[in-house]
Symmetry: D2
Subunit: 111 residues, 4 copies
């Protein structure tokens, strides 16, 4: 498929969106939710922009690189916040965010 050119970045965006969506729900069940408030807020943002980025790449959009560049910024912030928390869902989300940030930076830098 033509969108294969972005295949690994699309896959990283989908995986990151799923991890963020899962993390937000799991955070809401933690005993100390207050501590997780920024994590939840960033999870919501990050899932939304990752799904947008996956769609833009799959459509080979004129703006795919610019969307991925912003996606990398959001993923990085979300990954940094998640990494502060020891819950497995946060640690897994941090990993997905960092991989996605890296893929998006590479993609937006040149293809």
């Amino acid at each position: 498929m033509a969108h294969q050119k972005y295949a690994s970045c699309v896959e990283a965006c989908n995986a990151c969106a799923d991890a963020c969506d899962h993390c937000s729900t799991a955070c809401l069940q933690e005993p100390d939710i207050k501590m997780m408030a920024r994590c939840i807020a960033l999870d919501i943002d990050c899932a939304a922009i990752c799904r947008l980025a996956a769609g833009c790449m799959a459509r080979d959009s004129e703006f795919a690189k610019q969307v991925c560049q912003l996606c990398a910024t959001v993923c990085e912030a979300c990954g940094d916040e998640c990494a502060k928390h020891q819950n497995p869902h946060c640690q897994e989300c941090a990993q997905a965010c960092r991989r996605c940030a890296e893929e998006c930076r590479r993609m937006s830098a040149g293809g």
Copy 2:
């Protein structure tokens, strides 16, 4: 991860959304676009509901089953339309839609 319980359905939804997004763009480059008009319209709908369904499952939403049930209906219609066209992107999209419809029906029927 807790959302692993829906893992194969989430994966099918992501793959179907990507295939639909790719198909809509590829259809717009076909010599006879007019013939592809309904395919493009269904691709847009199908990509949107597949991404919603993936998110609902990843968040373990109360409405995940109902969203997947509707997603199955949309995927089936999109798959039937795509199957009429011989372009590789349509044939690949038809396959992704059918697999997603099946996963979503199974998921909404019981988990």
Copy 3:
């Protein structure tokens, strides 16, 4: 515009999505977030399906009625949950959800 036929329902969906998105953030700043956990989860679902429904109506999608029918169900659940909480953002969100549920039911029932 042709999508004027659904104008009041599109408007209600956009307003409800915005109210839900606002409510989820405001809930995260409440002193007792734990009590707001289901409200936040439903806000996320409701915002997402309202934005899908607005898009489907604006595109005059074949599935607009079915999406609005499901949207009404989600709005009703979200409105019922929000109505339990006395915070102004929850009360305003409950109102937006109920208006949207009503518009979506009317739209899906006949046009």
Copy 4:
């Protein structure tokens, strides 16, 4: 409501998303679709980023300004393309895009 601070920009994003969604469907029914291919592709992108931007502002996201900045760029491109076509849906969409680009630029420049 707290998200009132972005009220006019949120409203412009919602209106632009609806106009783009409507324009993409209407373009697919034009006698010469081929001529509308880029318009359709940009409509899809623009609707998606406008709905993301509306959500980010309503959630008072940390990234609302950056999302609006990118949204302005996409709206401008979509508005320029739509403005080339004399169909009423394209002309109306061009207007919605330009108003949204202006609101998003103002919002991202300072609040």
